[in-house]
C-alpha cells in the first residue's frame, strides 16, 4: 500500500487553493470538534475537575507536605496542565485522524484543489488550542480557588508549555502514522497514555518521586515538561536540559510520523 499513495508535489504544481479554503476547513472542523462532548470533557473539563477534587482534600492544602515546603495542590497544577496536553495529543487526536484516513475523508479531499493535509492541520491546531485553553483554565482555577501562585517566570513557562504541547501532538501524530485502523489507534493511544500520565506525575508528582525514578522520568517528554513547568512556576528559567529533552522528542516523533504516515 505504501507506494500507491499519491505524493504531494509542492514544487511543480501551482497552488490553486486559497487561504479562504483552509479557513473554511478549520471552521468546519471546529464545528465538528464542538460536537464531540467526550473529547471536550476529557481535554478541557477533566484536568481542572481532577485538580478541584484534589484541592478539596484538606491535607493537600497543608504546606510542607512535600520536599521544598510546597503544598500537594501546588504540584498538581502543572500535572493538570500536562494531563490536558497528553489527553488531546494521545487520546483524542489519533482516532480522529486515522478515522479520516480509514473512511476515505482524506481521499475525498484530495479530489479537490485543497490538500488533505489541511484536514490534519486543522485537527492538530484545534486539539492544541483546546489543550492550551484547558491549561489556562487549570491555572486560573488553581489561582482563584486554591491560591496556587501563577508562574513567576511567564516567558519560560510559555516556552515550556508550548514545547510540551508540541511533544504531545507529535506523539499523537506518530501513533496515527503507525496505526492502520481507528481501533489500533485507540489501543496504541491507551498503551502510551498511561505511562505518559505517570511520567507527567498524575499519580505521584515528579518532584515527589524518589531520585532514581525521577532521573529516568526526566528523560521522557512529560517528565521533563513537569520539571520545566515547576521551575518556571517557582520563578527560574527552565533548565535547558529539560527543554532539550522535549525538543529532541518532538523532533524525533515528528520525523517518525512524517516517515511512516500513509495517506491511505
Amino acid at each position: 500500500m505504501s507506494a500507491t499513495a499519491r505524493t504531494h508535489n509542492s514544487t511543480t504544481a501551482p497552488a490553486t487553493s486559497t487561504p479562504g479554503a483552509h479557513l473554511a476547513v478549520l471552521k468546519a472542523e471546529a464545528r465538528l470538534f464542538g460536537r464531540e462532548p467526550g473529547s471536550i470533557f476529557w481535554i478541557v473539563v477533566f484536568p481542572t475537575a481532577l485538580l478541584s477534587i484534589l484541592g478539596l482534600i484538606p491535607s493537600f492544602r497543608e504546606p510542607g507536605a512535600v520536599p521544598g515546603g510546597q503544598r500537594v495542590i501546588d504540584l498538581y497544577v502543572p500535572v493538570a496542565v500536562l494531563l490536558a496536553l497528553i489527553t488531546a495529543g494521545i487520546q483524542a487526536l489519533p482516532p480522529v485522524l486515522t478515522g479520516y484516513r480509514e473512511r476515505g475523508v482524506l481521499r475525498r479531499m484530495s479530489t479537490t484543489p485543497v490538500r488533505p493535509a489541511a484536514l490534519l492541520a486543522a485537527q492538530i491546531v484545534l486539539n492544541g488550542a483546546a489543550a492550551l485553553g484547558s491549561a489556562v483554565l487549570a491555572l486560573t482555577v488553581g489561582r482563584i480557588a486554591f491560591g496556587v501562585r501563577l508562574p513567576e517566570q511567564p516567558a519560560g513557562y510559555v516556552l515550556a508549555l508550548l514545547l510540551s504541547m508540541l511533544s504531545a501532538l507529535a506523539l499523537g501524530a506518530v501513533i496515527t502514522a503507525l496505526s492502520r485502523t481507528t481501533k489500533t489507534a485507540g489501543v496504541i493511544g491507551s498503551l502510551v497514555y498511561f505511562p505518559m500520565m505517570f511520567c507527567a506525575g498524575v499519580w505521584l508528582p515528579v518532584q515527589a518521586m524518589p531520585q532514581l525514578l525521577r532521573d529516568i522520568v526526566e528523560l521522557t517528554p512529560f517528565g521533563a515538561a513537569s520539571q520545566a513547568l515547576a521551575q518556571a512556576t517557582a520563578g527560574s528559567w527552565p533548565s535547558w536540559s529539560y527543554l532539550g529533552v522535549m525538543a529532541l522528542w518532538t523532533a524525533c516523533t515528528t520525523g517518525a510520523a512524517a516517515r511512516w504516515f500513509r495517506w491511505e
Binding site: A13, T16, A21, G104
Partner: protein, 327 residues
C-alpha cells in the same frame, strides 16, 4: 475530441496486475462506461485518471493534463465520486456543501445544486444519518461543485434500491446533458446499457472489448436467443448444423438456441420443412448480460496467453439485432 486518453496503463499491487495495458479514450460529452466483474481493476483505472494513484507504466491525460504531476489543476476540471469514501459523520449536508464549495476558487452555487439533486430538504441532516441514496446524491453534488468538465462516478448506484437507482440514472443523464463528460464505473449491465454511449469491458485488468452497448451485444456470438417447444422431436444433427448457432440446449423438450438472425431464419425454415409447430416461440435479443458473460469468460480462459483487446468501432457493423418477436 478526446478529453480522457489512457494509453498502455499498467498498475500492479504485489505481483497481481490490477491494470495490465489498458488503453481507451473518452470523447467530450459522452457517458463512457467501465464495466467488469468485481476485482477486475475498474477502480484502479479510474483512480489513475483521478490522479489518486501513480501508474507503473503508460500515460494518462485528462484534457492534456497529467493527473499526478498536474493534480492541482486537474482538480479544477475533474470531479469525482469515490467508491467507499465517506464524509465526517457529524457534518451536515449544508456544511459539507459549503466546505467543499469553499475548496474551489470559482464554485457552482451549492444551493441550486442541492435543489437540483433533491437535497434541499435534508440540509440540516448529518452525513451519518443520511440514507444510501441521499449520500450518493450528496457525493454527486460535491463532484459537481467545482463546475467540472469531467465527472468520475465509481459504482454510484451499488447498494441503492431500484427506485433510487433509477433516480440516479436520470441524474447522470442530466449531468451529461449539461455538457459534462461522465466516466461511469459499474458492474450493472442494465445500467451500462441504459446510460452509456460506449463501454469498455474490463476483465482481469485488460480491456476485453470496447464498443457501444448495442455493438457489444451484436458482436458477441450469442446475440439472439430462440426458444420454443417443438410439437415433435427434431433431429439433433440437424439442430447442431444450424448456421451461426453458438449453443443448442434441450430442457425437457424445450429448445433454447443461441445464435444470430441467420440462425433464426434457418430455424424457421427447418420447422416449416418438417411441418413442426413451435409452441411458445420466443425470439429475443441477447442482453448486454449475455455479451458480458461471453466476453469475460472468453478472456478469462485466454488470459494465460494474451487476450487481445478488441478495441475499435464495430458499432456500425450490425445495427439491427432484430426486435423481440413473439409468436
Amino acid at each position: 475530441m478526446a478529453i480522457i486518453e489512457v494509453e498502455g496503463l499498467r498498475k500492479t499491487y504485489g505481483d497481481k496486475p490490477a491494470a495490465d495495458g489498458v488503453t481507451f479514450t473518452v470523447e467530450e460529452g459522452e457517458i463512457f462506461g467501465i464495466l467488469g466483474p468485481n476485482g477486475a481493476g475498474k477502480t484502479t483505472i479510474v483512480e489513475c485518471v483521478e490522479g489518486l494513484r501513480i501508474p507503473d507504466a503508460g500515460t494518462v491525460r485528462v484534457a492534456g493534463l497529467d493527473p499526478v504531476a498536474d493534480h492541482d489543476r486537474l482538480t479544477l476540471l475533474l470531479g469525482a465520486q469515490l467508491q467507499e469514501s465517506e464524509l465526517q459523520a457529524k457534518l451536515t449536508v449544508r456544511e459539507a456543501l459549503r466546505l467543499y464549495a469553499a475548496c474551489y476558487p470559482d464554485p457552482a452555487d451549492w444551493r441550486s445544486l442541492a435543489e437540483r439533486l433533491g437535497l434541499d430538504g435534508s440540509l440540516e441532516t448529518r452525513f451519518g444519518k443520511l440514507s444510501g441514496g441521499q449520500k450518493q446524491r450528496l457525493f454527486v453534488a460535491l463532484a459537481l461543485l467545482g463546475n467540472p468538465r469531467v465527472v468520475v462516478l465509481d459504482e454510484l448506484t451499488t447498494g441503492l434500491d431500484p427506485r433510487a437507482r433509477r433516480d440516479a440514472w436520470q441524474l447522470i443523464e442530466e449531468v451529461r446533458d449539461s455538457g459534462v463528460t461522465v466516466l461511469l464505473v459499474t458492474h450493472f449491465m442494465e445500467e451500462a446499457q441504459r446510460l452509456c454511449d460506449r463501454v469498455a469491458v474490463i476483465d482481469a485488468g485488460r480491456v476485453a472489448a470496447l464498443d457501444t452497448p448495442a455493438g457489444l451485444v451484436s458482436a458477441s456470438t450469442t446475440s439472439t436467443v430462440i426458444s420454443f417447444t417443438p410439437s415433435r422431436a427434431l433431429d439433433e444433427t440437424e439442430l447442431e448444423a444450424l448456421p451461426e448457432a453458438a449453443s443448442v440446449e434441450n430442457n425437457d423438450g424445450r429448445l433454447v438456441i443461441n445464435g444470430t438472425d441467420e440462425t433464426v431464419d434457418a430455424v424457421l425454415s427447418m420447422l416449416a420443412r418438417h411441418r413442426v409447430t413451435a409452441r411458445q416461440l420466443r425470439i429475443t435479443d441477447a442482453t448486454l448480460d449475455d455479451a458480458y458473460l461471453d466476453l469475460t469468460s472468453a478472456s478469462a480462459s485466454t488470459t494465460a496467453t494474451s487476450a487481445p483487446a478488441t478495441t475499435g468501432a464495430s458499432s456500425s457493423s450490425s445495427a439491427s439485432a432484430s426486435a423481440s418477436t413473439g409468436a
